[in-house]
Assembly symmetry: D2
Homo-oligomer: 321 residues x 4
Amino acid sequence: MAPADQLPSPLRGIVPPMVTPLSDRDTLDAAGLERLVEHILAGGVQGLFILGTTGEGPSLSYRLRCELVERVCEQVAGRVPVLVGISDTSLVESLNLADYAADAGARAVVLAPPYYYPAGQAELLHYIQHIAAELPLPVFLYNLPSHTKLSFDPETVRRLIEIPNVVGLKDSSAEMIYFHKVRRLAEERADWSLLIGPEELLAEAVLLGAHGGVSGGANLCPRLYVELYRAATRGDTARVAELHAKVIEISQRIYHSADHGAAVIAGLKCALSCLGICDDFMAEPFHRLRDAERRLIQKHLAELELPLGAPRTAGRSPTPG
Amino acid sequence: MAPADQLPSPLRGIVPPMVTPLSDRDTLDAAGLERLVEHILAGGVQGLFILGTTGEGPSLSYRLRCELVERVCEQVAGRVPVLVGISDTSLVESLNLADYAADAGARAVVLAPPYYYPAGQAELLHYIQHIAAELPLPVFLYNLPSHTKLSFDPETVRRLIEIPNVVGLKDSSAEMIYFHKVRRLAEERADWSLLIGPEELLAEAVLLGAHGGVSGGANLCPRLYVELYRAATRGDTARVAELHAKVIEISQRIYHSADHGAAVIAGLKCALSCLGICDDFMAEPFHRLRDAERRLIQKHLAELELPLGAPRTAGRSPTPG
Amino acid sequence: MAPADQLPSPLRGIVPPMVTPLSDRDTLDAAGLERLVEHILAGGVQGLFILGTTGEGPSLSYRLRCELVERVCEQVAGRVPVLVGISDTSLVESLNLADYAADAGARAVVLAPPYYYPAGQAELLHYIQHIAAELPLPVFLYNLPSHTKLSFDPETVRRLIEIPNVVGLKDSSAEMIYFHKVRRLAEERADWSLLIGPEELLAEAVLLGAHGGVSGGANLCPRLYVELYRAATRGDTARVAELHAKVIEISQRIYHSADHGAAVIAGLKCALSCLGICDDFMAEPFHRLRDAERRLIQKHLAELELPLGAPRTAGRSPTPG
Amino acid sequence: MAPADQLPSPLRGIVPPMVTPLSDRDTLDAAGLERLVEHILAGGVQGLFILGTTGEGPSLSYRLRCELVERVCEQVAGRVPVLVGISDTSLVESLNLADYAADAGARAVVLAPPYYYPAGQAELLHYIQHIAAELPLPVFLYNLPSHTKLSFDPETVRRLIEIPNVVGLKDSSAEMIYFHKVRRLAEERADWSLLIGPEELLAEAVLLGAHGGVSGGANLCPRLYVELYRAATRGDTARVAELHAKVIEISQRIYHSADHGAAVIAGLKCALSCLGICDDFMAEPFHRLRDAERRLIQKHLAELELPLGAPRTAGRSPTPG
């Protein structure tokens, strides 16, 4: 196996949480998926995370999740490590998907707490201890209390950091005080990777010690986040401020067209559709943006002047429904 | 098809949310399941609800959920209607399970909002409208915002009540002001059934117009809840107060041995195991009560003097691990 | 001192939380106040609670609070006990107001936890223990976590019930499971009074053991709540259901004209103003309902056919600004 | 009036939220207060904020609040601007205190939303518009939803920024995505000051455009925060990271000895008492740390090696009760 095929330790850089191009409730937009993967990889990212929150993982059927894992791993072909979200309310189903991902060539899995029952830290600790022992791949913890109703308390992280195949944490809590506390804990493990979720916090997180970011906007404009990451790692605060301002602008203009908890995904998919990259169909209970919102996104995209790479050929453009 | 085989319209009475007897993470305690079903039916209940929150539905593998549906429908054999929980984060998987349930002979499905993404009322309304049109069975809405992060707002209920195969709502919000408002709306549909979830609220809900209750304690002691329901429907407030006091006592003594959001289930399973009815294994991330807690539950059971029906024969008792 | 002047032990019945008629930010509507007190007392209530949440207590200057206490105690003149809200973020100010109330002839004080800092149960317990020892009057605890961010946990109530001059609890949590648990605790003290706050829960609370209610709607229509209380105490479930339906209707039609946490007060004051009883000025940050909302309230009042007592003479009607 | 006496526009740098030294519930520790003011000013701070959350403002009697304003303004004597917290549930009392502060020589007031009733953005907007028109001093908005239950939404800030004597916002929400959005809005007003509350976020806030910080730890160790502020403004990321690590260490070691929402204040007061600066009495419902916790704080102080300035003479040390 070539070195490029391995999971870096720690994993550093931008690892986009890929949206899942759909042409219907239970059908991948296969051509759009291919274009999207190449679009993202061309931006210089250090990994690809599929079936996360941005990827609508929990909304997809298991059949489709497996198909996606298969296709992406095959297409990426070891150019960067593929990380697969296996969060589930059923531990058995998480393990099933993890096994599938390992067979398909994924390099790691990403795991949030089970998200139906309100559990406590004791249950969370034991859960991760149990499942980690059975997982065929290294696992990143995924902290997203807005969706799971449960945060990995620092004291729980302190214990979980002792498990060898727990190799990092993606923090999407958007609570930077929490982040700084966990970062101190993460110093215990030189191979541990602490990644920040919300792209609006990428600048400060990397300036103050994060290993990278799982930035949703990197679906749209991977170079921007890769450059921001690099500017932050070299301490170029002027450049960081400039790129950070662009990130905030994207957030304000693209991610707030809908009024629900998947508005970021709806905005991203709409923008990708405007660019001819993939369909903007969304799994229930959400739906693609309407025409008025879409026109506004198109206007914003034009004004934002993003470094988007080569233009798409019209012939490959999907027909959003 | 015999009349007993139909779903009453409206459904009235006690419809216990059955716990799922497990002997391991992905294995039913089949003998315990048989005993439990008979124990519950012997109490005079008007239906059986499986794969709900109390049934640990979301924590079980899809394979096991299907096995449970199959076994229960076969055993119940039309004596009471079987209702099957199909709540899921993926609409496709909800439909898959509903189809399975219909084929197995279930009489209705029960559906909470998808529980991963924070959605709004507009999404919830469209979601139910979409899925209801495709369901092969009548559907009860399931309101449980503590677990799903989303309540069926009265205005949304007003709209959903217009869908013919939406036949009722189980309210587990524990918010009685909300309940009273929804009850007024439910008057619009004579065939609609409004059921109360938390058994601690069964007395007042039925006194003030609920059609029945989905009382977890009816796993343990179905007669108590059936009698309370009957006393309330005939306006016997003295008897209601007496039985209500017993219900509160069970709640305080049996359901608070653990300190997490599945403590009720842990207490119920432990008590059922103490009575020799079924195993108390719990799906991750939870676990059965420990010895000290179990001894306390045994003591409480003895003191509570519940009307439990005939004693179990020792030979049928499982060996809890 | 005449017996009528004493605080009954336990206090039973309807104790309206009086709105505070204002003609300006720091000026009482003195004539309206007089009319309102008589209107309420004519309805057969068992006490009068001023400077509570409905009374906009925390929004008023200390000077005005004292003036109100003075005027109300003088006017009521022992016909029913007057209870004075002394909740404050500063213990010293609570004590100051309690002393003032005692001198003016109030019979009890009502005290919520201090509501600025998020405190815990240990702090709450010590706080009540400290202040109770210094209060010149019996004290009712006031549970309103939506406003104070802190509930009196049952275990804390168990401890506080041991303090002689803590004589009851007004529960405005709207959580009936909590209520039932506290009610069991309250059985320890025969002189303890457990009162329900939200009027939408008055029926069930009294049916299941509450001593009475602090019903905001009794500002408008005291007889309705007094009758509901009486029907519930004598177990007349048919009459309870009928009156309860009326209460829910008032709640839905009068209390939801505004979209904020003081909508009930705004609706009550508007309705009282429509009836010519008092001004509907509200202390900042709230304001009286606008004309369109007011017309709707007038329409609802006409349709509701409330037992409102004798009509007001036009000459005494205030001019709402 | 000397230039040093003016409020800079915008205000920049560290503006410590001073703790209020108390020797009893309603008595200032006057000698401790004097020492504390000098200790803080010696650290190079750019202002002094009294009667904020850290200052236990809402827990103090009005009499004592006025005494504190008087004493501090007199002692500071224009060396830095004094800002006075006037947040209150009663607008009238806020105005009273603001007038007092203006007369005493304060340079600005700080105002959070009224914190008892759950209000909405419309009420908040009107409230600030009304009160700002009547305030005798420039006002800083104070965003602290954990205590007030209400945040200044960006859209509300956009409107409030148009009011001339609203001169800045102190954001204590700890939500950095929010902060970045508000920062963009603040660019509209060159004289507007955006200050960050939680000191754990001081580094990133200043690196990304905040004008300064209201850092509680600057009671204890003002130089540390002043230095961090300066390193961040000159883009010295290595030095920032070093000082930020120290700030996080203080937070973890000093602010978590108690388990309630005033733990930071308890830790700060304890540490100041250990250093002989002032008494550690706390207003109800809180209390000073106990001996075991105090010994731990002393140990941490020794290990942290903070740049604390000249040692206190034993003779000036208070006797903590």
